[in-house]
């Protein structure tokens, strides 16, 4: 199953449509899209607008591929499952987010093993065709810096 998820705030139809169109062309019936609160309805994929966190985790466990926006929450949660990811950033100019932080993050993650980065929707179908489903993402984001924990801890003791 391919799980597409774009977070719970603003929809991201560009990404969802790109995957849905690809699913149609390739005759895939195993795409599930969490679309956010949008009017658009996928033609070839199962979908839900919103999803509860526990249901979301269940789907993530089942997915062989995750297609997501470049959200910290999505990526960090996904990294716990070791599932290959295809990521595409929201853009500020298209009012998909408030600034271009997702785009900057995407640029920096471009060479990470097991993560494919599509800079826009035109990249998506080709990357879906070429993706190595066996390649697990080599990301371990690590724990919080001890220095940060210490600083905030001292701040709270005062």
């Amino acid at each position: 199953m391919i799980l597409v998820t774009v977070g719970m705030q603003v929809p991201f139809d560009r990404l969802c449509k790109a995957v849905d169109d690809w699913a149609g062309r390739r005759g895939r019936d195993d795409v599930f899209i969490q679309t956010g609160e949008t009017e658009w309805i996928p033609s070839h994929s199962e979908y839900t607008r919103m999803i509860r966190p526990d249901e979301f985790r269940k789907l993530m466990e089942q997915a062989q591929l995750l297609v997501m926006h470049v959200g910290v929450g999505s990526i960090v949660t996904a990294s716990e499952y070791g599932t290959p990811m295809l990521l595409m950033p929201r853009r500020e100019s298209l009012h998909e987010t408030r600034n271009d932080h997702q785009y900057h993050a995407a640029l920096r993650m471009r060479n990470t093993e097991g993560m494919s980065i599509a800079l826009d929707e035109d990249d998506v179908p080709r990357m879906l065709d070429e993706i190595d489903w066996k390649k697990k993402p080599e990301v371990d984001f690590g724990s919080a810096s001890p220095e940060l924990i210490d600083r905030v801890s001292r701040f709270l003791e005062k």
Binding site: P53, D54, G71, V76, R98, L107, F141, S145, V152, L156
Partner: protein, 171 residues
């Protein structure tokens, strides 16, 4: 001898990455009496200490002015109920509002800007400056003498290719 009173802490965030990052700060909250405030009931399962208090408030972005007013009202109610000594937030809008309310009521306040903001402080982060007693970024290259301070991040290896130029990557 009387045991010193625990710090009553309000830990606030909106959803997604903000909540993930707030959870990663929980070690720093040990020894405090923590009340969590976020935007989805479903996040309750993420709490390490299930006996902590947990409040759900509506989600709103700065694009939604009416939502923000409603949210502010709910934040004020939570702050009045918990009477925190300190507030820590990883953003975004709910955290900013909580810091404003808290600061006016004399709480110690801490803003931790999301690690997603690697090129500049977030807009809510910049607005948080005057309301935060401790104002933090998670990227060393964004820290200046006038603030924000940098003491590391909640995801030490988050990133990053070609960060060399800006010196933000510790990985």
């Amino acid at each position: 001898m009387r045991t010193p009173k625990k710090t009553r802490l309000l830990a606030v965030s909106s959803g997604g990455g903000h909540w993930v990052q707030l959870q990663r700060m929980s070690e720093a909250f040990e020894g405090c009496d923590v009340s969590w405030v976020t935007v989805r009931e479903g996040y309750r399962v993420d709490l390490k200490n299930q006996s902590d208090r947990f409040f759900v408030i509506p989600d709103a972005t700065r694009w939604n002015k009416v939502g923000l007013v409603f949210l502010l009202f709910r934040v004020i109610l939570v702050v009045i109920r918990v009477r925190p000594h300190a507030i820590v937030t990883t953003g975004a809008a709910p955290g900013l509002l909580a810091l404003m309310v808290g600061k006016m009521l004399g709480c110690r306040t801490c803003w931790i800007d999301s690690i997603a903001n690697m090129e500049e402080m977030s807009l809510s982060g910049r607005k948080a400056r005057r309301w935060a007693s401790l104002w933090l970024t998670q990227w060393s290259h964004l820290s200046t003498e006038e603030g924000p301070e940098y003491h590391g991040s909640v995801l030490q290896n988050f990133c990053v290719e070609d960060a060399g130029e800006q010196g933000g990557c510790e990985a």
